[in-house]
């Protein structure tokens, strides 16, 4: 696949946001705010940055991607569907029995989705796995890159800092961690629940390269990842500043949208703000029919 350019990525991010809203409207359960805030980053990862093959998710030459904060999976599933790992219509099965789109992701060999390497959901475990993966690849002198994505609230977990220390100690420079720095977690804003600042200094103190960018600015994010790829000698972290709920006015930067789906009315409004794209919706007619039914009641 040709790498998408910035214009195409913007369009794809908007489509992914539409998909997230639709997934959640159908499942009536799941996380809204974080996934919406990450649509730009996921579009960049899967349509520009990561070396992946949707027809062969376990391709030996793939880049490894771990979603450590598993609850953010609606954006991952939408992106995997858009990239061809799963059929688009499968997005209607989020959190449903006998499906592969678990409420928190699992790998395909254990009820889960192609593209997932491990299970995640209990927070703070992805970085250790990513470090192990990167160390293993380095032992074999393989060029594959390893990426792991964390929520900022997730950084409250002690295991994260164990792994940060391990990665710094072993100078794991084939690893890039991305922190979704949206300042929100379930209970409140992160500085109310548990102060994380000075966050960049913390990572630096553990011997990491630290980069920061606007995670909702596609050009900036791509540039920052490129920069990270060229840095050597230490693991890299990108503190990507995003807005929870980005793209939907009434959800933006409101921590209360961490863990709840929109209701039908809110979904309708969200979709009207996220205008249709050239990629097309996966259940357009069914969804419109459902809206009509709701309106008639």
């Amino acid at each position: 696949m040709e790498r998408f350019d910035v214009v195409e990525l913007k369009e794809m991010a908007r489509q992914i946001r539409r998909d997230i809203i639709k997934e959640l409207l159908i499942s009536k359960s799941g996380h809204s705010g974080g996934p919406l805030g990450l649509a730009d980053i996921f579009a960049c990862l899967y349509f520009n940055i990561l070396k992946v093959d949707p027809n062969n998710p376990r391709w030996e030459e793939r880049d490894y991607f771990f979603l450590s904060a598993g609850h953010l999976c609606p954006v991952w599933y939408a992106t995997l569907a858009r990239r061809g790992f799963i059929p688009l219509t499968e997005l209607t099965t989020l959190r449903k029995i006998n499906g592969r789109l678990q409420g928190h992701p699992a790998p395909p060999w254990t009820h889960g989705v192609p593209g997932a390497e491990v299970a995640s959901g209990a927070l703070g475990q992805g970085l250790s796995i990513a470090v192990g993966c990167a160390l293993g690849l380095r032992l074999d002198k393989k060029p594959n890159r390893v990426y792991v994505l964390h929520g900022d609230g997730e950084l409250d977990e002690g295991q994260i800092w164990e792994a940060v220390m391990t990665a710094g100690h072993h100078k794991v420079d084939n690893l890039t961690a991305i922190v979704d720095r949206n300042n929100c977690q379930i209970d409140n804003y992160t500085d109310k629940v548990m102060e994380l600042e000075p966050l960049a200094d913390k990572w630096k103190a553990f011997n990491w390269h630290v980069l920061e960018c606007d995670g909702n600015d596609i050009e900036q994010f791509l540039r920052t990842v490129k920069q990270a790829q060229e840095l050597r000698g230490k693991p890299k972290v990108i503190l990507a500043h995003t807005f929870m709920g980005k793209g939907v006015s009434f959800m933006e930067n409101d921590y209360k949208w961490h863990g709840v789906p929109p209701n039908d009315e809110q979904g309708k409004q969200a979709l009207s703000e996220l205008t249709p794209t050239k990629y097309g919706d996966f259940i357009e007619f069914e969804w419109e029919r459902q809206l009509v039914e709701v309106g008639a009641k």
Binding site: W109, V118, A122, L127, V131, G132, K142, E162
Partner: protein, 320 residues
């Protein structure tokens, strides 16, 4: 004379450490994770022989399990090793999600298990590890009875493509199995045949059971002794056969009475052939400091306790 001879005293953890070095020579994918207790768990031997394939993660057991999972994902054969309590209790959630649910064939090899770790006291006496590990889907749980079996088990684990937990002990303990004998996970060893009662033991209690059998034989009680080295998957066939043929079961282990080998055997019996069973195990209490053999006696998991349990279960059997 007991039916097996104690040839020498050697620690199961040493068998583990030596097997790792052999594996290191045989298979370039074998890697070992160290949690700062390498001299104790005997991964120091591998560290010296293969420094490039030894990964120190510091005293961070939760991170160790995740790192091991990542290594397994890319085709390495990771052995994660520390003390029993810190290999199971502390990183339980990491093992559950990153290893068991994710089905990554990490080898969790813990030393200093059971009350016999002794002087370190209750914080270091892992008496819950079998229970914690055996309730996890996809997990294999094994406990070798001596140095030779430890070695064989560790070597066999490389071909065993599942997450696995193996428990070793600190002390030098009797070596009595045949170094050339076969070993297979999930296939119990019937060490002594008997007709009236069966002792099903794992770990150090296998030797205690052999000693107990000598006492019982002198009392003209015909006792079968089974080394149940794999607690999961359990050799149900051997248990049902023993229940059918001897009609009374005693289980023996260096572990809490709840959820360990005894519990696993009782689950099988309840579902197949309900049979009187007595449990030789630590009776729902924490331990204390002391020497391993002193603690075994005080906490009721030594030879004499097995003999008593056999007497008790035979009384119950006769009332049926």
């Amino acid at each position: 004379m007991p039916k097996y001879q104690c040839k020498e005293l050697k620690a199961t953890r040493l068998g583990f450490g030596e097997a790792l070095v052999e594996l290191g020579h045989e298979n370039p994918n074998v890697v070992v994770l160290g949690g700062d207790v390498t001299g104790s768990v005997r991964t120091d031997l591998f560290m010296k022989a293969f420094p490039d394939r030894f990964i120190s993660v510091g005293v961070s057991e939760q991170d160790m399990m995740g790192t091991a999972a990542g290594l397994a994902l890319v085709g390495k054969i990771p052995f994660a090793s520390t003390y029993g309590e810190f290999a199971t209790g502390r990183p339980f959630d990491q093992i559950r999600q990153s290893i068991a649910y994710s089905e990554l064939p990490v080898k969790i090899c813990a030393s200093h298990c059971g009350i016999t770790v002794g002087p370190d006291g209750a914080t270091h006496q892992s008496l819950e590890d079998i229970a914690l590990m055996r309730i996890l889907p996809h997990m294999t749980v094994a406990s070798p009875c001596d140095y030779h079996q430890a070695k064989k088990m560790v070597k066999a684990s490389v071909q065993w493509n599942h997450p696995i937990y193996i428990r070793f002990f600190r002390d030098n303990t009797p070596v009595f199995t045949d170094p050339n004998g076969a070993f297979e996970f999930g296939k119990a060893d019937v060490l002594i045949n008997g007709t009236e009662v069966t002792v099903i033991a794992c770990g150090l209690q296998v030797w205690e059971a052999i000693l107990a059998e000598e006492v019982l034989a002198a009392e003209k009680i015909s006792c079968r002794v089974i080394n149940m080295h794999t607690i999961k998957p359990l050799d149900k066939e051997a248990i049902v056969k023993a229940a059918n043929e001897t009609g009374a079961i005693v289980t023996a282990e260096d572990h809490q009475i709840h959820g360990g080998l005894g519990g696993a055997v009782a689950e099988v019996l309840a579902q197949t052939i309900p049979t009187p069973q007595e449990f030789v195990a630590v009776n729902d209490t924490f331990g204390e400091s002391g020497k391993g053999d002193e603690l075994m006696k005080k906490y009721g998991i030594a030879k004499d306790d097995i003999v008593k349990a056999v007497h008790k279960v035979l009384k119950r059997k006769r009332k049926l």
